[in-house]
């Protein structure tokens, strides 16, 4: 058993080595091919040839949109959990703040009746989620220990309960006719709409790429070094002159901002927001997805978020021994996580450093440039 695992492990390490050792143009070509694949994916003309990949029980394009939102959320949460090492159990709360900001300011069902256009409200939604992140982080990030986990958990529940029971946030009835982003086809038909999810998917995909570029640049800068040092040893980081509180707050707030953006996109796409969209379970799933993928690694977070969201949808319409797999999706998901934590606690595609943190002295580890 262990030898098989060892072989799988060394095989993956070899793949990683080959990737890092490959010439620049090969890496770029591969990257472009992967990106092109994902842009082409929601077209029926393309995905009908992909065998078992399209989901049998649900509209594949809609599923892709959901998956892309999860990927965006995973990339955002990875900053908080993966880079800065802060345990955020209520990440979906920020997603809710983003979605509700858009709903309240744009929907005709809102008491405010502002009816602002979607595009105008997006920066506001991002700003407001960031502000709520700062408000939540300022008192808690000064403290060590589990306070942040508890406070974020409470925050997400508070938002959900407010959504369910406050008159202003409309509970179950929710907000409808949330406007779409601007943009028209040549024939005058709007680009973004309820029926065709493709434009939304492409928009989210583009934003994911932009966010990833931004996050990558950050992690390769002084900010990234500061985050990693805080995650690895907060006291030592402070002793090296890193303003730890400031950087933790930054990580927390930027993570929140990305969730706010995701919420705003979701609200526009669904055209409708109500209290059922923000169950606590979602926060847990995203956190699990980030850890599953390999926290601290952007690619890991993308793969984790994408795979988890996709698998959950993929179970729809599959029957095994007369039971619908979809009903047991969380059980399966939980089992996979448990197995994963036993055999590969650092995640599918771990950060090299993170792997070293886990391995510690089990084996000689070279952390190269």
């Amino acid at each position: 058993m262990t030898t098989v695992l060892e072989r799988v492990r060394s095989g993956r390490e070899a793949a990683g080595e080959r990737w890092r050792g490959a010439p620049r143009w090969v890496r770029w070509a591969l990257l472009v091919a992967v990106i092109a694949f994902f842009y082409a994916l929601p077209n029926r003309e393309f995905y009908q040839y992909l065998g078992p990949i399209p989901t049998p029980g649900a509209n594949f394009t809609q599923v892709l949109f959901t998956v892309s939102i999860y990927v965006l959320l995973a990339v955002g949460l990875n900053i908080v959990v993966g880079f800065a090492g802060l345990l955020d159990l209520g990440y979906f709360g920020f997603f809710a703040v983003g979605a509700y900001t858009v709903a309240v300011l744009t929907s005709p069902s809102s008491n405010l009746k502002t009816l602002w256009p979607w595009l105008l409200v997006v920066p506001l939604a991002i700003g407001l989620t960031m502000l709520s992140g700062v408000m939540l982080g300022t008192p808690t990030l000064r403290l060590r220990g589990d306070y942040l986990a508890i406070v974020t958990l409470g925050f997400a529940e508070m938002i959900r309960i407010a959504a369910v029971s406050s008159e202003f946030l409309k509970g179950q009835r929710g907000f409808n006719q949330i406007p779409h982003p601007p943009g028209k086809y040549a024939d005058g038909k709007p680009f973004f709409g309820v029926l065709d999810a493709r434009p939304y998917y492409w928009l989210v995909l583009t934003l994911i790429i932009l966010v990833v570029i931004g996050v990558r640049n950050l992690t390769h800068s002084r900010v990234g070094r500061a985050w990693i040092s805080i995650r690895e040893d907060e006291d030592a980081a402070q002793l090296m002159g890193v303003p730890t509180f400031k950087f933790k707050l930054w990580a927390f707030a930027s993570g929140a901002a990305i969730a706010g953006l995701a919420g705003a996109l979701f609200a526009g796409k669904q055209n409708f927001v109500n209290s059922q969209n923000f169950e606590l379970l979602n926060s847990i799933i995203i956190l699990a997805a980030v850890i599953f993928g390999g926290s601290g690694n952007i690619v890991g977070a993308i793969v984790g978020g994408g795979l988890v969201a996709y698998m959950i949808e993929r179970f729809r319409g599959i029957e095994l021994f007369g039971v619908e797999l979809y009903e047991y999706r969380f059980l399966i998901f939980g089992l996979v996580l448990v197995v994963m934590m036993i055999f590969r606690p650092e995640g599918l595609i771990p950060n090299r450093r993170r792997a070293a943190e886990f391995k510690d002295r089990r084996k000689e580890v070279i952390v190269g440039e």
Partner: protein, 236 residues
């Protein structure tokens, strides 16, 4: 005076770990702080570096009161601590760890110069520059902690038990290096269990007992003090 601590008390919750201690470190000195386990040596270091807030008293660095200053800002002023238990970043390579030591600095030329100097002082680190910090041996981590603190080019270097867990040969070596660092112009405040070695090299020393300073003098004086001999040097 480079560092003046006056009447400092420190509390961990309701436990008082320091009871009004006062000590000074002049520029160019090596000052040793010795005492039994739990006497409050590391706590004193934490108070100076700002990791723990003090309850009363004052800490002055280069004549300015830094008692309320955040720890990272104290580093910027030239105070750097190699913590007890080393505090190496386990996932970062030796070079990256050293680089973190220079976090507050932006003078690339000066950093490169100091890196060369640290690798020169610790050839062992140069050999293992790409190895992850967490996989170094205890002694190597200890060297890395000292080297990393040096990378901030501190005016005052705080060392908390740099010889802990080292083989006798290495202990000798690390003390020689401390002496060398000092001769190159860095002031050192040194906490040590290894009182013999520390006192032999320190210009002055303080003895800490249950959170109070009970004795002070030059290194040589304390080395020959009968009470110190009995309590800390294992000589009857």
């Amino acid at each position: 005076m480079l560092l003046e601590i006056e009447d400092v008390s420190l509390l961990y919750g309701r436990i008082q770990a320091l009871h009004g201690i006062s000590l000074t470190v002049a520029e160019g000195e090596i000052v040793a702080l010795i005492g039994a386990n739990g006497a409050g040596k590391s706590t004193t270091m934490r108070a100076i570096s700002g990791i723990r807030p003090i309850a009363t008293g004052s800490i002055r660095f280069e004549g300015e009161d830094i008692s309320k200053l955040r720890a990272d800002l104290r580093v910027r002023r030239g105070l750097c601590q190699a913590p007890e238990g080393r505090g190496i970043f386990p996932g970062m390579s030796v070079l990256e760890n050293l680089d973190m030591g220079a976090y507050t600095r932006r003078d690339r030329a000066g950093i490169a110069e100091d890196l060369a100097r640290v690798l020169d002082l610790f050839p062992r680190l140069a050999e293992r520059r790409k190895q992850a910090g967490g996989t170094l041996s205890g002694g190597e981590q200890q060297m890395l902690a000292v080297g990393r603190a040096l990378m901030s080019r501190p005016k005052l270097l705080l060392l908390d038990e740099p010889s802990m867990g080292l083989a006798p040969m290495l202990i000798q070596q690390i003390f020689d290096i401390i002496k060398e660092i000092n001769e190159q112009g860095t002031t050192v405040l040194l906490v040590e269990q290894n009182a013999q070695q520390a006192l032999a090299r320190a210009h002055r020393a303080y003895v800490l007992e249950t959170g109070k300073i009970v004795k002070t003098g030059t290194g040589a004086e304390l080395l020959h003090d009968p009470a110190v001999k009995e309590a800390y040097l294992g000589v009857a």
